[in-house]
Every structure is written in C-alpha cells, then in structure tokens.
C-alpha cells in the first residue's frame, strides 16, 4: 500500500478569472453544505426578522403616523421595506462569524497554503451568504403577505426591489468578511458584526418617518446608505411613506442604493482580500 499516488498531477490552471470563479464556487458549495448541516442557524436567522415584523406591526403599528395617517395597515406596508433591508444587512454577522471560525480552526491556513485564487475563500463565503439571504427574504415575504403587506406596482419593479436588497445584503457581507478577519474569535465576530448595525438601521427611514427627526439626525438618516435601499424598495413596491426629503439619495434612491452597494463591495472586498493575504490565525 502506497500513500503516494503517481496518477495525481496538479492541473495547470486556465485563465485567472476562470480559476477565480471555479474556486469561489467550490468554497461557496462547501459553505452551503455546511449551512444545510446546521439548520438551526438558518432558522434563527429567520425567527428574528419574523419577530420584528410581528412586534413592529402590532406593537408600534397603532401609534405611528405614516403620510398623515395612523392606520396600522398603512404602517405595516410602510414597515416591510425596512424589515427586508434590515434582514439582509444582518447577514454581515453570519459572514463575519463564519470566517472568524475558519481562522480559528486553522482552515484559513490550509486554504492559504493551496494554489487557489486569492479572493476565492471570501467570495465563496459571501456567495453562500447571498443564497441564504435570498431564502430568508423569500420566507419573510410570505410572512409579510400574511400580515397584510401588498405591493402596488409591476412584477418587474418588485423583482427590481428584491434585486437591490440582495445586492445591498451582498455588499454588507463583505464588511462582515473584513470584521471576521480582524477579530480573534467567532463570538467577537458575531457581536462585532451586529452592534454597529443597530444604529445604522435605526437612524434611518426603516421604521419611522425621518420627517419627525431633529434636523441633524434627519440629515444623517437621509444620507445613510441603508436608507437609500429602504426608500428605493418603498418606491418600487408602491408602499406608502416614501420620504419627501430633498437629499439626493432620497430623490434618486435606486441609483443611490446601487452606487452605495457597489462602492461598499469595491472598498471592503479590496480591504478584506488584502487582510486575508496576510491573515494569521
């Protein structure tokens, strides 16, 4: 019995881009298998936004004034774009924790010693998170429809809104990737990936009408990248409560959301891949 096999040769890679795509997909597949074996993670990921839907719509619903009306049904329609957007950003924590865990377990060292594309470990992880985000959004949309959320626009516009949400979620997982590479434990990545999301998602138009905020806070909320995605979704869903602010991102939310998301991907992907190359477990 020989441990060494003569038949095995490392294939010369084709184009760099082809290799990068292939390696990323291999890693994405690995992460998806992993997720499917830890279903409780996926389920907890679903419980939280569903809880938010129920809590916000029934607890706050009656006391919120949206576009001059305090009808709870109107608030429920207003709320959903905010919940959807908040949910996709929470994927940040999952990506961060997953990558921190890989560092901790020595897997990143193994990957870094393999002749694979440099960004593939992170891209694979973020792609797997994207799939999970899409599933979460699907379930959440069904729950939203059950509590009375409706869209009032074309299928194309609705799908466009979900597309923007997925892109924003994907962008945020790159922030998570950088956090995961920068902390020492998976636990730190989970909390580090979450805490800053609370101010980001609450100092925004997600849950309240920014018109009622103090001027400086409103200014922050209007320019918050997160608000742009929420505003774009409201507009594309035809839901009430679209902000009348004359800040540029509120006037052109679809463009703003696209630009913000792409900028986040470019910046944080660059930083995360650089960090990965020198990562030390």
């Amino acid at each position: 019995m020989s441990v060494v096999s003569d038949t095995v040769r490392v294939a010369q890679p084709g184009s760099a881009i082809g290799q990068s795509v292939r390696d990323s997909l291999v890693v994405a597949q690995r992460n998806l298998i992993r997720m499917s074996r830890i279903p409780e993670m996926v389920i907890f990921g679903l419980i939280q936004p569903i809880m938010f839907v129920v809590l916000f719509s029934y607890v706050f619903g009656g006391s919120m004034t949206i576009a001059g009306s305090n009808n709870p049904d109107r608030y429920r329609e207003f709320l959903m774009a905010g919940i959807f957007a908040q949910t996709v950003t929470f994927a940040t924590a999952g990506a961060g924790a997953g990558i921190a865990d890989d560092m901790h377990k020595g897997l990143i060292d193994r990957f870094r010693s393999l002749p694979m594309a440099r960004g593939a470990v992170l891209t694979g992880r973020t792609l797997a998170d994207l799939v999970q985000t899409a599933l979460t959004l699907l379930v959440l949309a069904v729950v939203a429809l059950l509590v009375g959320w409706r869209t009032h626009t074309s299928v194309g516009e609705v799908l466009g809104a979900f597309g923007l949400l997925l892109l924003a979620g994907y962008a945020f997982t790159w922030i998570g990737a950088l956090i995961g590479l920068s902390v020492r434990t998976p636990e730190a990545a989970t909390s580090g990936g979450l805490i800053w999301l609370f101010p980001v998602t609450f100092v925004s138009n997600a849950f309240v009408d920014t018109g009622q905020m103090t001027p400086w806070l409103r200014h922050v909320a209007d320019w918050n990248p997160f608000s742009a995605t929420v505003q774009a979704c409201r507009e594309l869903f035809g839901n009430p409560g679209v902000s009348q602010s004359d800040a540029w991102p509120m006037q052109h939310p679809v463009w703003a959301s696209l630009i913000y998301s792409i900028a986040i991907i470019v910046i944080f992907r660059t930083l995360a891949v650089r960090k990965y190359r020198s990562a030390t477990a």
Binding site: M1, S2, V3, V4, S5, D6, V8, R9, V10, A11, Q12, P13, Q19, R22, D23, V26, V27, Q29, R30, I33, R34, R37, I38, H104, K105, G106, L107, D109, R110, F111, R112, S113, L114, P115, M116, A120, R184, T185, S278, T280
Partner: protein
C-alpha cells in the same frame, strides 16, 4: 545545489519578539528533517515562512526548487501542509473535505472524487467517509487532515506537530503513515516537541531555541555529544539510600545524584548490562530492596538539557500543561490550551507557537 527544502538566514520578528533569528537548514530530497524545540522556539514560524503563509523579514527560502518569496503560488502547487490543528471542516464529511481540497489544488471534479476515495481507503477512513468530520475521534481527524495534505501527492510535505494531542496508540499509527510516506520519496519537514518523535522519524534533527538552530545532526550524533550511560536505582526504603549510594560509588565513574523524595539514585557508568547485573547482585547481598533499576542511555531530553540548560518544556506551566515524571508535557489538555493561546496577544501567540 540546494535540497528540496532550503532556508538561509530566515528572520521574522513580531513586535520586539524575534521569532526567527537567522535560521538555516537544507533538507536533501527524500529525507526528513525534524525541527525540535519547546513552545516559542520558532518552529511554527519557520514552517509558516516556508509554506508561504508568512513573509520572512529577511532571508532566503527555496522549496522544491522554487523561490518561496518570488513565486509563492508555484510553491503551493508542490507542497502539502498539515498544521497544528486538524484543519478540516467539521460539518463536511471526510469525503467532502478531501474533494474540496482536491478541487482547490485545481484537480478536475472527477479526479478529485477518485483521489478522495483512494485516500479514505489508505487512511483507514472508508467506513467513516460519509459522516461529518465532527463525529470523528481526534486520531481520525488528524488522519483526515494528513490525507488532505497529501491529495496531490506533493513532493514536499510540512507537518507542524502532527501528533500533538494524540494518545499513544494514535501517535504510533500516524508515525507508520509518515514512515510510509517518506519511503515513497517525499521530503518532509516535521516539527515536534516530542524528542522521541524526532528520534523515531527524522534523519536529521535541528534543535531550535529562541529562533535559532542551536545544534544539528543525526539523533546519534546529538546523543554522542551528551555523554554516556548511567544506572538508575529506586530503592524501596528511604533508609537504604545511603547504603545504595555507597554501593553505586563502588561501580561508578563520577558523582551519584540522589533524589530524596523519589528515592532515586543515578550514577554515570561504563560497562553496560554486565555491570548492571553486578550492581543488582551487590545490592541484593546488602539486603537492599529495590523498586526499579535500569541502565539509561541518553535521550534527546538529555541532549536538550545539555544544549540549552533547560528542559524542552519551559513554558509548560504558563500553558497550563502538566508534566509527567520525565518532564515531558502531558498532551491530554492540548486543545483547550491552544484555544487559550488564541486570546493572547497575537504577536506573542504567533511567536509562541
């Protein structure tokens, strides 16, 4: 013409810790070099520099004929690394783990699948192949990790403390695997703090301490530097220590050392087994009951002490390790120890592993 693994003047500092302070070695093709040293000696840092995980501040490294600093990705095609942790995805099955690694070595999906099957068979993991690695024992995980490092049968292998944390039976098994591997022509660099392990597996040994190679040679050469054999006696009754000491003096070539609390006497001797028999007879004649007696040849432990003036496990206490009678660190608690290390200052941790 440098060997399959060649390092010259490697220097790496973390903050003000000099983890590597000018390390040189040259490992001829098909041989095993053991890097032997305590925690913090710089063994892991050396492996990380040679496997492209870490860029040395200074020095030259050539692996499989390829310059590590200039062509890291070329080097990655020719090496296998089995690190201090069993770096496998515990939620993936053994088979999935190996297939993934194969794909990332740029094998075709079909080839990766065939190869995974072969390796699972060879490493005695076929029965567990389709169970998540989470359910594996420590020994099985190590074997899977090693299998992953061998997916492409790389000509050069690096193993960083491959048997740390394993029980004696699993350690023996892994040694067998490593020996087979080397007999197949693989060049191996192995780090260990088990002196016995280096003795067993390595053709050449570099003793490393504080980032420097303080001695090198074969196991026999190193032992020869330390000197000869000695008789060790453990007497049953404390009162007999004085008499036994007197007896030993009659046979010995130097000072008897006495450990009162363990009732152990040690005496350097020449004359081997024949002399031992005489010592036993004499002790018996004097009516001294003995618990243990033996002729000890120098171990690499002795080599280490004589070279460095301290045991190989100076940091055992800091790391919460337990020392057994021979001063060898008990490894049962290794995993939590490593976890604790993670929380320490990163630079220090890096230097210390």
């Amino acid at each position: 013409m440098p060997g399959a693994i060649y390092a010259e003047g490697l220097v790496k500092t973390f903050g003000d810790v000099r983890a590597l302070d000018g390390v040189d070695f040259d490992v001829p093709e098909g041989t095993v070099l053991g890097l032997l040293g305590p925690n913090g000696a710089g063994k892991t840092t050396a492996v990380r520099c040679l496997t492209t995980l870490l860029r040395p501040d200074r020095g030259k490294a050539i692996v499989a004929g390829i310059d590590v600093l200039k062509n890291p990705n070329e080097v990655r095609r020719s090496i296998g690394l089995s690190g201090q942790f069993a770096a496998v995805d515990e939620y993936l099955t053994g088979r999935e783990n190996l297939q993934m690694v194969g794909r990332l070595y740029q094998m075709k999906a079909k080839d990766a699948k065939v190869r995974a099957g072969e390796l699972l068979e060879q490493f005695n993991l076929a029965d567990a192949a389709d169970r998540p690695a989470k359910t594996y024992s420590g020994g099985m995980r190590r074997r899977l990790d090693l299998a992953a490092a061998l997916v492409v049968s790389p000509p050069v292998m690096f193993m960083d403390e491959p048997t740390t944390g394993l029980d004696p039976r699993n350690r023996q098994q892994l040694w067998e695997v490593i020996k087979r591997l080397v007999s197949g022509g693989t060049t191996l660099l192995l780090t260990t703090q088990y002196l016995e392990e280096a003795d067993h597996l390595a053709h050449d040994i570099c003793v490393v301490d504080h980032g420097r190679v303080i001695a090198r040679g074969t196991s026999d050469q190193l032992k020869a530097r330390t000197g000869g054999e000695r008789v060790e006696v453990v007497v049953h009754e404390r009162e007999h220590i004085a008499t036994a000491s007197e007896v030993l003096r009659g046979f010995g070539k130097g000072e008897t050392t006495v450990e009162e609390h363990t009732r152990k006497l040690t005496m350097p001797v020449t004359g081997g087994a024949k002399l031992l028999a005489e010592v036993i007879r004499e002790l018996d004649t004097r009516g001294i009951e003995i618990d243990d007696i033996g002729l000890r040849r120098p171990t690499l432990d002795d080599v280490f002490i004589s070279l460095t003036g301290h045991l190989a496990e100076t940091e055992a206490e800091e790391n919460g390790g337990v020392q057994d009678a021979k001063g060898r660190k008990t490894k049962a608690k290794q995993e939590p120890v490593q976890d604790k290390d993670k929380d320490k200052d990163k630079a220090k941790k890096e230097a210390a592993s």
